[in-house]
């Protein structure tokens, strides 16, 4: 049977193909611009740590988790996720602070999501998840565990207090 190498497509369907392709292209451009030009980045650090010693090795920042001031208004915070709490449980920074979070786990996987911000990371033993947020508004920002991590998972949370 000889057939044409090209399939026949209904003209209406062809139009629909163009529209849907166009729409997807617009979307990908919008997220690409937000990501690469405007700073809406995903956590993608490739740093690795040993989950079995990360909490005890004196050279590991997670042996002494918590807030470090780098410069006025600029902070980094090392958070250790473990069953079933975050260490530290509470962090206080002044309004307007830029805070970079470095989170890892010493046991199973956890999640780390700060409410009302774009900080939302998978926490994986052996890896370090990192993102930054600028706290422009005073108030309390709970951070909660968003990945099932065992029987105490539902109670695993902490909070950031942003002082005026």
């Amino acid at each position: 049977m000889t057939t044409k190498p090209i399939i026949e497509i209904d003209p209406y369907e062809k139009t629909w193909m163009r529209i849907s392709l166009g729409l997807l292209v617009v979307f990908i451009i919008m997220v690409g611009v937000a990501g690469y030009a405007l700073g809406f980045q995903l956590p993608a650090s490739e740093t690795r740590v040993n989950p079995q010693t990360v909490a005890t090795d004196p050279n590991s920042p997670w042996s002494n988790p918590g807030l470090r001031e780098l410069a006025p208004g600029k902070y980094e915070v090392y958070i250790l996720a473990q069953i079933w709490l975050f260490n530290p449980r509470e962090i206080t920074v002044p309004v307007g602070s830029t805070v970079t979070f470095y989170v890892t786990s010493k046991d199973v996987q956890h999640g780390f999501k700060i409410q009302d911000t774009n900080i939302n990371m998978q926490i994986i033993p052996g890896y370090v998840s990192t993102l930054t947020h600028v706290f422009d508004k005073p108030g309390e920002y709970p951070y909660i565990c968003t990945e099932y991590c065992g029987s105490g998972h539902a109670a695993m949370f902490g909070k950031i207090i942003v002082e005026p």
Partner: protein, 552 residues
């Protein structure tokens, strides 16, 4: 072209074989679905878990059973059975090696039983994604592997049958429903390599104590290699029915045969290399690869958008033939009194929103808003639990009468069942989406979480109300099917159901490249290698060992 008989019938033995799949599928659904509503009730503050003690130990054990039995067993068992039927009916020939397919099915059954043991004993409460370093009883991993291997074997049975048909029918084009069945299986076979490698090279040696630690991100990457195409494995059989069966049931035709084929080939090509869109917020995967996978994920959204057009056009054609006038009259003219049609139409409408949610999830950094929030189960209850599940329910409303020769028990009740699923799911999933946007986590008994603000309560209540309606809907379904299969009235000769297969409206000839697996398989494998090899090599060469934990 051969014109085969429109009413080709399966042999009694074949019918029985398909029927066994349905028994396995619906048994899984009947246990798995108990927990869905319980989870929804827990969210609303009606915690019934204390009453399940000591049989079921926790919310999480229930959630694992819910995910495994509903999303893995109900779907896989239904799909392999349904595709057996569409392969035989499409080719109008028996399976080439029926014993091979029987073997596949029984391997699957053994797999389910083996999985059930640790699940029920609370020794594998690791959820259906079984993320390490939570370590389940090794039987759990072995059982799941057997389920997958069983489905592979059934797939091999389809390929042999396709090859035999090709030999017997030189120069002819594969019938669409048979082709779509084998394409679905081929896609599944490439896709499940990920989880097979995860279990065989990481989890089992680790569960048996042969290695002390495994790399968790490597395991996640293998898992999501399978995890996303898994959703196309759920959807494609529903698409098959929407394209090629639903129009016939509604009195119409398949709008575009060539487009339907192209769509299935595109799914084979692009379903797999997209897994990183489940790992957007993971450390250890370079950002550029995440962006590449988001573009690839958009490419696999494209054939779904084509499906929407073709399927709806097929329905419009049917509605107009039934006398529907004007821009919307055809919708009203569709057979809204046929529960099989109505289930599938309503499934399609829910998928309208499921598809939009899916494109949102796939949108790179937009994922930061919804990752691991209640939005996600809100989303996939519109896809796997509606587009697929409600369509499968609709299919069984003709399939069970077909297999058993009995009349559907009280079609009115079946209609009510479909509408209840639709309404319950609208309420449930809308509430879950909103909760997710507000920041509520998934996989969490929110009824007991200490951080839940009062603002969420109204939505949590709606989760419970939707869940209650769904509870009635799912058990009404099982009741109707059981009544039909085991106590239904025998249909007379003239009332016998036939397998609905729509003819194409545009029967344009199919070029050779659209009727051969080779180029598509090569393309699919190449794309997978390009999209995964660099990251996998990096993860393997920089592996960090994690020991296992039992934390439930």
């Amino acid at each position: 072209m051969t014109i085969a008989t429109a009413n080709y019938d399966l042999t009694p033995q074949e019918k029985k074989f398909v029927g066994w799949h349905l028994i396995l599928a619906i048994s899984a659904l009947s246990v798995g679905s108990l927990f869905g509503p319980l989870q929804a009730f827990e969210h609303a503050g009606w915690d019934l878990y204390p009453y399940l003690q000591p049989v079921f130990k926790s919310y999480y054990q229930g959630l694992t059973i819910h995910g495994v039995l509903n999303a893995l067993v109900w779907t896989t068992a239904f799909i392999t059975g349904f595709l057996t039927l569409t392969t035989i009916r499409g080719l109008q020939r028996s399976l080439r090696y029926p014993k091979l397919n029987y073997t596949g099915f029984w391997v699957m059954v053994v797999g389910v039983l083996v999985t059930a043991v640790p699940l029920l004993a609370n020794n594998a409460s690791v959820l259906y994604t079984f993320y390490p370093p939570m370590k389940a009883d090794w039987l759990f991993y072995v059982g799941l592997t057997l389920v997958v291997i069983g489905s592979w074997i059934e797939g091999y049975g389809f390929y042999f049958t396709m090859a035999a048909w090709r030999k017997e029918h030189p120069g002819e084009t594969y019938p669409f429903i048979a082709l779509a069945s084998s394409v679905t299986m081929a896609m599944w076979q490439i896709a499940t390599l990920g989880v097979a490698i995860e279990i065989l090279t990481l989890l089992l040696p680790w569960a048996w104590g042969m290695v002390g630690g495994i790399d968790i991100q490597l395991a996640r990457t293998y898992f999501w290699f399978t995890g996303h195409p898994l959703v196309y494995f759920w959807l494609l059989p529903a698409y098959l029915s929407w394209y090629a069966m639903l129009p016939k049931q509604a009195g119409g035709k398949l709008f575009s045969d060539s487009m339907a084929r192209l769509v299935f080939w595109l799914f084979l090509l692009t379903s797999v290399p997209v897994g990183f869109h489940h790992q957007y917020v993971d450390p250890g995967v370079p950002d550029s690869w995440k962006f590449i996978h988001s573009i690839l994920t958009y490419s696999v959204a494209f054939p779904s958008m084509l499906t929407a057009f073709t399927v709806i056009a097929g329905l419009e054609y049917a509605g107009r033939k039934r006398g529907g006038k004007g821009l919307f009259g055809w919708i009203k003219a569709l057979p809204w009194d046929d529960p099989s049609v109505v289930s599938q139409l309503l499934a399609g409408i829910l998928f309208f929103f499921g598809g939009i949610g899916g494109i949102t999830n796939a949108s790179y950094n937009v994922n930061l808003v919804i990752h691991n929030t209640a939005w996600v189960p809100g989303h996939f209850h519109l896809t796997v639990s509606s587009a697929a599940t409600l369509s499968f329910m609709g299919i069984t409303y003709w399939l069970v009468p077909y297999l058993t020769g009995r009349k559907l028990w009280k079609p009115k009740w079946a209609l009510i069942q479909a509408w209840m699923w639709f309404i319950g799911m609208l309420i449930f999933s809308n509430a879950m989406h909103v909760l997710g946007l507000l920041g509520a986590p998934r996989r969490t008994p929110l009824g007991e979480a200490p951080y839940v603000p009062a603002e969420w309560n109204g939505h949590l209540l709606r989760v419970g109300i939707g869940g209650a309606i769904l509870f009635v809907a799912v058990y009404l379904y099982i009741f109707i099917i059981a009544k039909t299969a085991f106590g239904g009235e025998k249909a007379s000769e003239s009332e016998q159901v036939t397998i609905p297969v729509a003819e194409p409206l545009h029967a344009s000839p199919i070029p050779a490249w659209m009727d051969t697996f080779k180029p598509w398989l090569i393309g699919a494998v190449l794309l997978v290698v390009i999209a995964y090899a660099p990251v996998l090599i990096d993860l393997i060469t920089h592996a960090v060992g994690s020991p296992g934990f039992r934390v439930w």
